[in-house]
Symmetry: C2
Subunit: 221 residues, 2 copies
DNA sequence: GCGCTTATGCCACTCAGTGGCATAACTGTG
DNA sequence: CACAGTTATGCCACTGAGTGGCATAAGCGC
């Protein structure tokens, strides 16, 4: 690994060893997104990716649990920040769903790494084209939701753990986020963090209306 | 394959060949659920399962797309019936979410095969214990939701396709179903189709309340 | 410089999943 | 009942993801 110039995030005051690990991880993510986008997720073998980064396959699996994981790192970073924020956010007498929404906004605000929005876009496009990536992403969001639920039950005075409402509130935020991600990806708007946040806000605002949305049969012709 | 006695569903007036295929498929599902439950999903190799059913691995993959698929057949049958029902159900002036809910109930009513509820229970427990199964199940539900969405847009006079409300309504039904599945599995109630339907009804009824659910900090101690 | 810890590389292995081709089983015709 | 056409199956070899074990090298504290 003769990586001379540190591309970004040359965060000094971390031990050399840790910096190297961070850089290797980031190089793996960037290269993976690039190769997968170029030739498709299934068109690139792990051996090829490892060769490109000059890392052994064994080492790859010490950084990521699966081939899918490396391509979903940007989204996972966001949700990890979300969970962290949720640990300290004040409920403040408003609906839990709003509190969750604010935690998600705060997490997005913390995604300051260069080109994060672009990487999320690539991740999303890859997932849309690759069933196994989509499945992994869904599963990760599901797990994150359960973790968020556990945090809520630990911190808030929610009465009964068999009341489905809290869980449904969490799932609604996740649904709104996925919805926002798709409209953000497809839409003509700006593909920035702020643009994504706006879509999330719209999707959350549409939640109540989705409960009562009514339609008739489409007239023939 | 010296399968002498047809276990169930000896649906005559189907050609012999088709009956055999149905039986092989059903035997694969039953044996898989049994073995996976006994020794864990990862504790059983495909070769072992194929040996037990006396079928070549090559043939297995002509029936199922993956090792996970064979264990999720019961749930997939339900959602397929749901999509079929949605093709002809009348919107009838009430919220789309209610129409979706009724389609799901109708689909459950059609799951008359012997022991269906029991198989769903095994599937759910396996998925809860096996990340890759959980991921596959989530992905399948996601795909089903998109298919349902396409049907809705085709049949109903929903104006704008970029309005997130329809999609969110579908996702809410899916969330409610998953929620119901968990409480049904964990709860003390009867593990029958009717019991599951009741849980689904409760979860759907809880959807509006989840939007406004409020809570304060848990008092220390 | 010198040990101690920790990351990495290498090798062999298991197992899911696929493609190709030969063979067996079912189908409906005469 | 034989015959030809169709379709499911079996077998074999192969790719590629993921794992375990052990030797080695790189960073770290002294």
């Amino acid at each position: 690994m003769s990586n001379a110039l540190p591309p970004r995030d040359h965060d000094d005051r971390l031990p050399l060893r840790e910096r190297k690990k961070l850089r290797t991880r980031q190089t793996l993510v960037d290269t993976a997104l690039e190769l997968f986008t170029e030739r498709g997720f299934n068109g690139v073998t792990l051996d090829e990716l490892c060769d490109a980064v000059e890392v052994s396959k064994r080492t790859f699996f010490r950084y990521f649990a699966s081939k899918e994981d490396v391509a979903m790192a940007p989204t996972q970073d966001l949700w990890r920040a979300f969970l962290e924020d949720l640990e300290t956010r004040e409920p403040g007498g408003r609906p839990v769903l709003e509190m969750l929404q604010e935690a998600l906004f705060a997490a997005m605000d913390r995604m300051t790494a260069d080109g994060w929005a672009h990487r999320v876009l690539l991740t999303r496009q890859l997932a849309a084209a690759t069933p196994s990536m989509d499945a992994h992403g869904l599963h990760f969001c599901h797990d994150t939701g359960r973790a968020a639920l556990a945090t809520l039950y630990r911190r808030l005075d929610l009465a009964t753990p068999d009341d489905p409402r809290t869980r449904l509130a969490v799932d609604m935020l996740v649904a709104a986020f996925h919805c926002a991600l798709d409209t953000w990806t497809a839409g003509p708007g700006t593909l920035t963090r702020a643009g994504l946040a706006a879509h999330v806000r719209d999707a959350c605002a549409a939640l109540p209306g989705s409960l009562t949305l009514t339609a008739g049969l489409r007239p023939p012709g």
